[in-house]
Amino acid sequence: MEEFLQQVVTGISIGSIYAIVALAIVLIYRSTAVVNFAQGEMAMFTTFISWSFLLRMDFWPALILTSLVAFALGGALEMIVMRPVEKASHLNSVVVTLGLLAIFNSVALWRYGPLPRPFEKPEVFTGSPLDVGTITISRLNIGILAIAFIIMVALFLLFNYTKLGLAMRATAQNPTASRLVGINTSRMLALGWALSATVGAIAGMLTAANQSLSIDMMLAILLFAFAGAVLGGLDSPGGAIVGGLAVGVIQALAGTYISSQVDIIAAFFVIVAVLMVRPTGLFGRRVMRRV
């Protein structure tokens, strides 16, 4: 029982990074119906940028500065790269994001080299792990979970209690009707990308603090985050969080009780099983329209 609980906690810790990245994927998917495969590499790239900030300042100011850079980067990518292919089929857009993945990867390799770099942890996240009963949990993992939670609450408030959030939801549902009520839908799409890149950038810095900063640090995470997003329902922010955490927990449990070789397979096995029963994911919406 103790071991089980410990593994659940470990799983939630790994999963909270998946959850944040899954949230970033959902942010773009629900406004544009495009899965951004470059999400992980964008996060990796902005984390390298944050590395140069960290040479001059503490973790938290660097996090804020990096978020601003990522916000601008995400918005610019939507306006310059995605907008020209917006009118074509979604497949074109997805292929463009695959291109972005390759570009960010190569540029990072060229600029920063293949070697991993040590990455500074914020001070509150260092120190001895906490014991809760018989379970131990590292301060960094608590911090990551807390940040995931803060991001989720902030986005929830934005989408449900502000006019801007309402306009973003409207744009995602019906762009033409949104323009007819006076919403500048192009701006909303750019904003969706900007927010998504920001959330991704935070995930990138937390990942680097957890492991170390390297070119390929986000590749596996993107895969699991994507799985988490699909599990939760690609258009549901709450689902992304639950899905991401679930993938982490499944991974940890399977790694302990079956074999560390199968943790990845187990996660995807569960996802396939869930999608067979609920094709729109746990919290995804069934498309319902009256004619």
């Binding site: 033409t176 007819l180 009520v181 006076g182």
Partner: protein, 235 residues
Amino acid sequence: MLSLRDVHASYGPVLALRGVSLDVPDRGVVSVLGPNGAGKSSTLRAISGVLRSSHGEIEFEGQRVDRMSPEQIVRLGISQVPEGRQIFGELTVLENLRLGAYTRRDGAGVKRDIDRVCTYFPVLGERRRQEAGLLSGGEQQMLAIGRALMAKPKLLLLDEPSLGLAPLLVREIFKIIKAINVEEGLAVLLVEQDANLALDIAQHGYLLEVGRVVLDDEAAHLRQNEAVRRSYLGY
């Protein structure tokens, strides 16, 4: 108030409007009739800016609007109720109405107007917390009209409000449209398949065929017109 002069527009290579000219006077109700594919909806879409016209002029209160975006045009006071209603199905009735007032900054006025829309369409008030996609077809049409009114327009563009609705409900909706026109002094440009209804409510009518105005007269005269009667009124 609104005038179109020789407006052309196309969807890709398909020419939808081949020189449409029409006028809507202040506080007037004008109907556009015609068979499917005549360019009725395209005319409204060109006015609201969703469809970019390739030639001709569209003027609203003395201002050229044919190069403006829909976001700008709705701010000038033209609101469109699009074909097929196009409500935000996953949002609540109240959120739909609030979005209608997206261009406005007067919170108190918006609240007042939500109440006013709910007196025209009481069912919207009863269901304000419900998801709009769960409303019946007629209720959705009322919501689409209510949403358009929330922008406080001077001109309402109505695209086939009767589409797919039971005749009794259609008459009800038309009665309300007429009431809004009279009480709010709102001009209405109406596209409608049901020519009887359309000519009942309007002072002036235009008959469109393959992207051109082929007939243009007072509604009462159009009713007497032999060709209109045979093709569109059914007697």
